[in-house]
Symmetry: C2
Subunit: 404 residues, 2 copies
Amino acid sequence: MIKMALMGHGVVGSGVAELFFKHKKDYEKKVGDELDLKYILDLRDFPDLEYSDRFTKDFDDIINDDEIKIVVEVMGGVGAAYSFVKQCLQKGKSVATSNKELVATHGAELLKIAKEQNANFLFEASVGGGIPIIRPIFQCLSANDILEIDGILNGTTNYILTKMIEGNSFEDALKTAQELGYAERDPSADVEGADACRKICILAALAFGKHVYPDWVHTEGITKITLDDVDCASKAGYVIKLIGRTTVCGNGSITAAVYPAFVPKTSQLSGVDDVFNAILVRGDAVGDAVFYGRGAGKLPTASAVVADVIDCAKHIEHRRRLDWDDCTDATYVKPISECDAKMFIRAKADSTIADKVKSAFGTEIFAEKDGVVAFFTNTDKESVLDEKLANLDIVSKIRVLDEI
Amino acid sequence: MIKMALMGHGVVGSGVAELFFKHKKDYEKKVGDELDLKYILDLRDFPDLEYSDRFTKDFDDIINDDEIKIVVEVMGGVGAAYSFVKQCLQKGKSVATSNKELVATHGAELLKIAKEQNANFLFEASVGGGIPIIRPIFQCLSANDILEIDGILNGTTNYILTKMIEGNSFEDALKTAQELGYAERDPSADVEGADACRKICILAALAFGKHVYPDWVHTEGITKITLDDVDCASKAGYVIKLIGRTTVCGNGSITAAVYPAFVPKTSQLSGVDDVFNAILVRGDAVGDAVFYGRGAGKLPTASAVVADVIDCAKHIEHRRRLDWDDCTDATYVKPISECDAKMFIRAKADSTIADKVKSAFGTEIFAEKDGVVAFFTNTDKESVLDEKLANLDIVSKIRVLDEI
């Protein structure tokens, strides 16, 4: 029998328990051994559950019980969660987590401890919720050099942007998202891009083999997007999506960033609406593969956590070789100002604006409304574009991703 | 050092060799051991390759060499390929194959031998080419009860249907597909649905745990689809796609079938064009997950084969627990006539056609052209619908999948 502990009985944690007890027989068949969920760690009381007797408020019960081989961490944050996960791994217990902040901040260190202790540290649920993406990248696409990953990684912002395409203002769309439970009362981690940033850090580390710290990643949210931007995008054959993007550069460095972008309507990512997520992985052999599904929610996320638990249990004595190296050099991520870009611009009109645009970027103005013109730049280094744009009175500046 | 053999040096086989030699160092790092491709089995001579010295025409070289731990089978067919793979597994060698016919026909037997010999039998490349789908279903979605799988599983027919949406006839679209190398000179395995049938058999076995033989699966191709059907679909908010579909029934049986179907334009599958494939997996916890990419081609398919090889090599002493049971009872797959369906119908008009349709199906005629009317039926058991349709002069009958 393989004994497990669950740390955290919130939304995802209660989903993990629900799936475990509902499908226990089936999971045991898949593992080829009996499974037991011995402890559930939570500071709150849940007296009315069928499995109330398993709750504990004391982490020592778990860490000191040598029978516990697998620990699920769904507490969130990098306080107690980090301390507890580290201690579990140091004792050789395998850990499955949905905690993207933990993986993005301490992944390299925790993977190293797991390796030293011959334990598993798995985190399929940390990116894309229920969408299989971690394992497909490190296993199924392992024959490829990954060239690029572009993802709609945050369901809240995607819901808001979808509502804006339907004509609602950012503020109204956010309010609806909050009413539906898609956005937190303090929505900043979502709408400012921090959540997507953590996820692109994890994907970049997985794809390119070195840890990428969130601080190194240029991150813009969607709070400045207006309905005029959305309209112009549509007229020009695009939709605006919040994209987490990482690409490999020739010289051993990478790019990694999060920003709202114009995505062509022909892209598989353009049709990803509402709270859905999708991740495009471009490999040198496979070309483009896209993974689509529910990026959040109790049961989708819990199902990814439990899949990791099943995989741990199947390989209880042989750890999954999932690794990346730590990286202490922030210049590993190329500054966004040094990267090539094409921009969508809205700028205040003056009598010579068309000439200025033509001479600076070689392009034409394609829309004008209320004294504001819209145009695209050519593709050039961002710092070069910004220098030219300094001469204009800019209202909006949004990157254009023609190749995804 | 882990030594391997490659059986077949055709399109996929040469891709496997190309990837192996190009990325060898990287694969060795992932595996944590050196890798060697010791033999390549092919009846033809390839004197000009850098690795010409590895070719053999004699399978005995491989089967009798105890150093060979992993064998790649990309010969195709179920003649020599079946015999060779079976012998390899019986000797405890692990096998990775792209051969969907082999897996759909002999999968249960070969998986049983692999289990007995503690060897791996892996076939990620057999469905969806380079798209990760086998491993996501049996690993990442293992916490779910799979309820349904719907796939665009054949790139050739999807290319033809895409061209038909652009206004080309079936014959012209097929000719273009042949000129581009997307369709074989004898295209029947693609356009009659046999290829998609093998793939849905594999997916059904994986999802529901019992082998499904191709003979049991109702299979219709796309040869009868006309431009009038395509036009009607578009007017009604659908596109026509060749869908492989398998669902779980309440009573321990399943449905499995391949047919052209009306797919709503709101479905993620509707935007899958040209030679691309996509597979929608519906789980009880995760909801819908969709996997999209190149379903065929030299390097995409080879990359999936090599990913299996890397996985085998990582777990050379511990087989991956991937299994399903054999099934000898054809009634496990419910006859399609007993399944519920909604149909798109075109029928020759007569003076009372609108009344007949209204009274039989409760629906209205929504298009009429050249004395032929188009309408939808209600949803009912297929045998019941067919009985009612027997009174009409039917021109086209295509299933409608509103829920995918």
